[in-house]
């Protein structure tokens, strides 16, 4: 599936919920089921700055696709990362670079998109895209 298709699927899932509680409960579930990053990658270097909770992201190439793994010590943050990873992992770096992130708004997490928000969703997206840029250069 393309990034756009996955994002549409996520938006559909979230549209089933009536209120924020259900959305957050779902996000917490996603967070709990997030495949964990390997311990060796939970390094200071892999911590995303700008988050009140700790967020580690690791990226590696699998053929021409970029695979992300991540973790956080806060569960809501983990849920947000789980959504991002579902949307962007296992994709070609160039597609990640070209993708937009409006679906975050559509699933009712707009408030998390503010750059001043302490959870650093913006920093996370930026970091994923930076990885994509770095690996795209490698592929070129």
């Amino acid at each position: 599936m393309t990034i756009a298709e996955i994002q549409e699927e996520i938006v559909d899932e979230f549209s089933m919920f009536d209120d924020w509680m259900q959305r957050y409960e779902y996000m917490i579930e996603l967070g709990k089921s997030l495949p964990l990053i390997e311990e060796q990658y939970k390094t200071e270097d892999n911590i995303i700055k700008g988050c009140q909770s700790k967020v580690w992201v690791h990226a590696e190439l699998d053929a021409d696709k970029l695979v992300f793994t991540a973790d956080s010590d806060a569960i809501i943050t983990k849920g947000i990362i789980a959504i991002l990873i579902r949307a962007f992992s296992n994709q070609r770096p160039q597609d990640i670079i070209d993708s937009d992130t409006e679906f975050i708004d559509e699933i009712g997490l707009k408030e998390h998109l503010s750059p001043t928000r302490a959870n650093g969703l913006v920093s996370m997206i930026k970091q994923l895209k930076l990885y994509a840029v770095a690996y795209q250069t490698q592929l070129n």
């Binding site: 957050y24 806060a74 959870n119």
Partner: protein, 408 residues
Amino acid sequence: MLEVGLDIQKIRKDFPILQRKVNGKPLVYLDNAATSQTPQQVIDVIVDYYHRYNANIHRGVHTLSQEATDAYEAARGKIQTHFNIAKAYEVILTSGTTHSINLVASGFTSLLKKGDEILVSAMEHHSNIVPWQMLCERTGGVLKVIPMNENGELVMGEFHKLLSDRTKLVFCNHVSNALGTVNPIEAIIEASHKVGAAVLIDGAQAAAHIKADMQALDVDFYTASAHKMCGPTGVGMLYGKEEWLKKLPPYQGGGEMIAEVTFEKTTYADLPHKFEAGTPNICGGIAFGAALDYLNGIGMEAIAQYESDLLEYATAQLLSIEGLRIYGTAEDKTSVISFNIEGIHPYDIGTILDKLGIAVRTGHHCAQPIMDFYGIPGTVRASFSFYNTKAEVDVLVEGVQRARNMLL
């Protein structure tokens, strides 16, 4: 519900912001240790200043300038009275506590020698750690830390051991922002003076709850920020004993702080203007005075009593939640409750509470050494003011319970 001593519903009407809704829920504002809300009486003073007499002060001959100068100096007088300061010129108006501390730290650069010691408490805000570290880097001074115990109280025995004739300065907050502990500053000041050390007390967190008497305390420096006392942001005060303020060199150069300027030499203005370079926050200063009027109109003792009841109630209610631990259980504390729930990150709790319209602070509260002491990434901090109610405490407790159910 009986709210002892204060007509709380009348008081709440003074604060327009308390009527607002957040995420569709009535706002429950419990982040007062970060900043307090502003009553209409203070907002009116701010508006009136810009409507009627906005002008630069201390220099104009015109009427507006004179009116603004009078109002600004009247505010200084209100600060003087509130803190029982001997002389009005011992009140330096600053942009806030951080500015006040940096002013003193900078001034001590020329008074400190290599090997001189500075004591700071283990429960300082970063703003009362970093300027001293920078001062030590400049002078070769040595920073020593007064330790605290599990309850979040300073270990006074250790403090007395650290004091020596090498100690030149002692810094401590009156009340810890992260824990709410009221520190035994009387004992600290007395003991420090015996070895000839100067004492700066950071009153940022105390000033909204405790009326500190500068002359009775005999403290050398004391700081406060207006925005934690129902006043606006960007203005605060530094109290300094005259003898110290005379010893310290000016902090910033500029207009207002000079007596005479030629390209060869400048002579500095008298106190307090020596430390008040440039156009100050005139409106803020006047509003600071209005905020003190407002607080004193209610009565600081009545406020303290009310908040103490609220603290007791909130502590008991929160402790009924399974797995909840309170950090900072000092005998003497202000209405601040820092807590965590086992197995849950404070950030997650704060996020859910925000969705419920409840404003708390999460994180390390600019006091990382305290978090390191307890080995935690941060806490959730609920801090109560005299305009909060027991009903709001109930909303908080229900919210925390709900967050716990969702997150565990």
